[in-house]
């Protein structure tokens, strides 16, 4: 009898001590350590590629046969991109929701000017234009005349968007030209019909001339070339030049010091855990339509009593603001492009997750079925930071390259 009591106590204490000392007793799991060159090789072999450094390389890896780039088209497209008159109330341009700097390397002092001028209140753009994120940094986009997006959809970055196979959250668009047209026409965005666009463009003699210049390959009829179709083409041409290169690209090119050790661990996590399976290619995403969430945890946000008992709540691992359920309401979403992702918060289709760490945790749990540890999340976020980049200047190459015509 005493023996059993003794053994029970000893066992109890042993369990208690083990639990207390467990973290320090277990050996740290040894993950495969890649050398820098092995890591690069692994990444490149899985289809991860750097953004081209100059226009010659661009032509080698990117197929723009549908819209060949010329200096005139790109310049016209840029002008149209920042033009508010393409919206019904003349208040919204492409750059309103897809913010990028108009000028490179300026010291515009936008914030100082807006604070000290006699104008009314400023808006988020005064500070956030310098992000160069290609988004509006809002949870959901606001169109002409303050129109709210009916599904509370989050603006996707324009940067690197031309590399995607599918565009928009439901993945139904296949080219940036098509999307440009859809955005101009949508009543929630710029709300202009093709006829209205034609009218506005042709009332501006500068545009008539520029369109003529850019599209003089078309049959030289007397009809003005300043029309909706050519607007889409010009905008598309400009957007196709908006590719960004960052530390990650320099690493893939061969510079071992471009990214730090934590980011390298993050990259190997990205490859090994399976992230690269969907967020693939040079664009690190945008190439597939996948189901989200893949693994549905019942009421993980809300453990309140569930009656009648629901097997799955048809929702998301965050607030289902806006009620958008993907393509055909079937939870199919276009895989987002992760380049510059650390600049484009808030996250997911309805912008309801503000922090990148939380987004990574959700993706690990609901897409890969992995409960990522804090340090794994840190490493992945450190890697995602290396995907930030500056827009590459292809203008010299495009200017001198007349062969593409």
């Amino acid at each position: 009898m005493i023996k059993t009591v003794f053994l029970l106590i000893v066992a109890y204490i042993a369990v208690l001590i083990t639990l207390l000392l467990l973290p320090s007793m277990l050996p740290e799991r040894k993950f495969t350590q890649y050398s820098d060159n092995e890591l690069r090789e692994a990444a490149l072999s899985k289809g991860m590629k750097p953004i081209p450094k100059n226009y010659d390389e661009y032509l080698k890896v990117i197929n723009n046969s549908s819209n060949k780039l010329t200096q005139e088209k790109v310049a016209l497209g840029k002008k149209l991109y920042f033009d508010k008159s393409l919206s019904k109330n003349r208040d919204v341009s492409c750059s309103t929701c897809h913010m990028i700097s108009k000028y490179k390397n300026t010291n515009e002092h936008i914030l100082l000017k807006s604070l000290t001028a006699d104008s009314n209140q400023t808006n988020c753009a005064s500070c956030h234009i310098r992000d160069n994120s290609g988004t509006d940094r809002l949870s959901s986009a606001i169109g002409t005349a303050g129109t709210q997006n009916p599904y509370h959809l989050n603006s996707i970055t324009v940067l690197n968007s031309s590399l995607a196979k599918y565009l928009t959250w439901s993945g139904e668009i296949h080219s940036v030209e098509e999307e440009a047209g859809k955005s101009i026409g949508s009543q929630y965005k710029m709300n202009m019909s093709p006829q209205e666009i034609n009218k506005r463009l042709n009332s501006n003699p500068a545009y008539i001339k520029e369109f003529d210049n850019a599209f003089n390959q078309q049959n030289s009829s007397l009809q003005s070339k300043a029309n909706f179709e050519n607007t889409k083409t010009a905008l598309g041409a400009y957007v196709r030049t908006l590719l960004t290169r960052g530390a990650y690209d320099r690493f893939l090119d061969g510079d071992n010091d471009a990214i730090n050790a934590k980011a390298k661990k993050g990259l190997s996590n990205f490859i090994n855990f399976g992230c690269k399976g969907c967020h693939a290619g040079m664009s690190v995403g945008g190439q597939f339509l996948k189901r989200f969430p893949l693994k549905n945890f019942i009421s993980q946000n809300d453990l309140s009593f569930n009656f009648p008992f629901m097997l799955s709540d048809n929702g998301f691992p965050f607030d289902n603001v806006g009620g958008f359920l993907g393509k055909d309401d079937d939870h199919y979403f276009r895989v987002p492009i992760l380049r510059n992702i650390t600049k484009t918060s808030p996250y997911f289709h309805n912008g309801s997750v503000p922090k990148i760490r939380e987004a990574v945790r959700i993706m690990g749990q609901n897409q890969l079925g992995i409960n990522l540890s804090d340090s794994q999340i840190d490493e992945i976020v450190e890697f995602l930071k290396t995907l930030e980049g500056d827009v590459v200047d292809y203008s010299d190459g495009i200017k001198s390259n007349r062969k593409s015509l």
Binding site: M1, I2, V5, F6, I9, Y12, I13, L16, I17, L20, L21, H109, I110, L111, L112, S114, L115, T116, S119, N120, Q121, T122, S126, C127, R130, L138, S139, S140, I142, V321, P346, P354, K355, R357, E358, D374, D378
Partner: protein, 600 residues
């Protein structure tokens, strides 16, 4: 046989308990492990073994065999007291100030000693003498007062100035036991230094735009150390869907508490939280965040860092049961010295090297800095963390911990200074403390001679210049109205224009910063290189402003002189309002007023 088992269990509980008492100075790592073992095994043993045993034992000997044994009754009483006090010590704790805590602790310690002796007597009377001697011996080495446990290793900070978000945890954790101080701090200016301070957010944004984003590190070192050390390049701000979350008016740190409930310690608390001050281990008076904050290099209790609610609960109970080490981790002597506050409250421009904020230096040169005469010596906290009542300093007696010891002069965390406005948008109590403090600062006197008005302002209450801190952005001025015999106003100065700014004739006490070309810097205060004017009033000094009246005076004259204060000039507020349209304009606060009649 059962008896022997019970005896062994009791001895085990006793030994594990005595090891963690002050008799043995065991090392912290072992201490916290044995605490947990003692607490949980004792609970287990008491419920599973002792209680049923005592039931059977007393039933057999009292009811059936009807044995009369006083010692037995004593044992029973002691066992009961020890059990009850033990449960009390875990679930409520031994925090230092509560009478019941102290009773429970002593009951448990001395009760268990007496119990062991009585148990030996109960078993075998011969053991009495030996055990009595052992007890006296043990009591003899018990120290008279509480001794401190030494910190073993002192580090000079880490190699890389990087912390993880969870290292900074969330100040809500402190709220459970330090609720009064938490509430004072939550509505104070110290909590609301980053995203809840619209003036700061605008200026950090400007600094980043004009000088480059790396420059923001200078600001963040004091205003957002948690953000800076966790890799943020700029201060963030919470959003409410598409709009800026309104934190200007938010009371009692609601968002912080909600974040903690939802995300535990993994959501970054930006700004200055509890441990941003209470884990500073070294501080120099130079300024620009000249302190060392060591978050991880301390003795941690078990379960203290737990992400789960139950784990946090256990952690709190363990701290409350033995709070000495907790107190030593967070309460250091340097916190009482002015040089500690100076590490943030003095400021130099990293670009020009000029001193922008020199509050500490002003205090150092004043008569309040008197290390030889401690009666006259006053540190920052003697004014800025002392309770004010009816316009006077009235040290409040209170506790800093719920159930802790009562202190005669509890250091309140309203952090009264001069910015009544931003804390006032959240709590009138906070604002009231600051306004009372402001009104202790100066005294006015006025005289009229030879067609001149002499107004004297004496800095009687402040331990530094008036104004101090961001003295280029504060407005402290004289508002004068001079009426002649008919009642007509013949002279005035220091009035506001229609647009809210002061008229040009106002006599302000302030600094005016100029850049290297002597042009006023405006909002870009870090460009300060040349001091264009300095009319501040040093501590204890009197400054006289002379106004010439170029009119024929018709006596008797009535003069009303007010010393007015506004926390920000209207043109600064106007700029900030462009970003934060819901921000109200700060009011003019009348600090002093005198009215005097003059006869020829």
């Amino acid at each position: 046989m059962k008896m022997l088992a019970i005896k062994i269990l009791i001895i085990f509980m006793f030994i594990s308990g005595i090891l963690i008492s002050d008799f043995f100075k065991i090392e912290w790592g072992n201490f916290r492990d044995i605490s947990v073992i003692h607490i949980f095994t004792s609970i287990f043993i008491t419920i599973v073994f002792i209680v049923p045993f005592v039931n059977r034992h007393t039933h057999k000997y009292i009811i059936i065999e009807k044995v009369k044994d006083n010692n037995g009754w004593l044992l029973g009483f002691l066992l009961f007291s020890i059990t009850i006090s033990g449960f009390y010590l875990f679930f409520i704790g031994n925090r230092g100030g509560d009478l019941f805590d102290i009773i429970a602790f002593n009951t448990h310690l001395y009760g268990s000693l007496l119990f062991t002796v009585s148990l030996l007597v109960h078993i075998n009377k011969k053991l009495f003498t030996t055990s009595a001697m052992a007890l006296f011996f043990l009591l003899g080495i018990y120290p008279a007062q509480l001794h401190s446990i030494e910190f073993t290793k002192l580090k000079t900070g880490q190699k890389e100035n990087i912390y993880h978000i969870r290292d900074w945890t969330n100040s809500t954790k402190c709220k459970t036991c330090h609720s009064e101080i938490f509430n004072q701090w939550a509505n104070s200016n110290h909590k609301n230094l980053a995203q809840a301070n619209p003036y700061y957010m605008v200026l950090e944004g400007l600094a980043g735009e004009i000088e480059g984003d790396d420059f923001r590190e200078w600001c963040m070192g004091c205003h957002n150390p948690s953000g800076l050390t966790t890799g943020l390049k700029k201060s963030g701000h919470s959003m409410n869907d598409n709009f800026l979350k309104d934190l200007i008016f938010e009371k009692d740190a609601k968002t912080l508490i909600d974040n903690f409930k939802k995300h535990g310690p993994t959501r970054l608390e930006e700004g200055v939280g509890c441990i941003a001050c209470h884990r500073i281990t070294k501080a120099e008076s130079f300024g620009n965040a000249s302190y060392t904050v060591e978050l991880n290099n301390r003795k941690k209790y078990h379960f203290e860092d737990s992400y789960s609610e139950f784990g946090q609960y256990l952690g709190e109970k363990l701290i409350n049961a033995n709070p000495t080490v907790h107190k030593q981790s967070y309460s250091k002597k340097i916190y009482k010295k002015s040089s500690y506050c100076a590490s943030c409250h003095d400021e130099s421009s990293p670009i020009t090297g000029k001193k922008i904020v020199s509050t500490f230096k002003e205090w150092e040169a004043s008569s309040y800095n008197n290390p030889k005469n401690l009666k006259k010596h006053k540190d920052c906290i003697d004014c800025h963390m002392t309770y004010l009542k009816n316009g006077k300093f009235s040290p409040k007696s209170g506790r800093s911990t719920n159930g802790g010891e009562i202190k005669k002069d509890i250091k309140v965390h309203y952090f009264s200074g001069s910015n009544h406005f931003l804390s006032g948008l959240k709590s009138k109590e906070n604002e009231d403390q600051t306004i009372q403090l402001l009104k202790t600062a100066a005294k006015l006197d006025v005289d009229i001679k030879d067609n001149k008005v002499y107004v004297g302002v004496k800095n009687v209450g402040a331990g530094h210049h008036l104004p101090t801190g961001v003295a280029d952005f504060r407005e402290l001025w004289l508002d004068i109205t001079l009426k002649e015999s008919s009642g007509k106003v013949i002279f005035s100065s220091g009035k506001l224009k229609d647009d809210g700014d002061l008229k040009e004739d106002a006599r302000l006490f302030r600094k005016v910063f100029g850049d290297k070309n002597g042009i006023p810097v405006g909002l870009l205060f870090w460009k300060y290189e040349k001091l264009l004017s300095d009319t501040r009033i040093p501590a204890g000094k009197r400054r006289v402003e002379v106004y010439k009246i170029n009119k024929k005076l018709s006596y008797p004259l009535t003069i009303t002189v007010k010393l007015n204060f506004r926390i920000y000039p209207q043109w600064v507020t106007n700029a900030v309002k462009k970003m934060y349209p819901q921000l109200p304009s700060p009011p003019v606060v009348e600090l002093e007023k005198i009215e005097k009649n003059f006869h020829k």
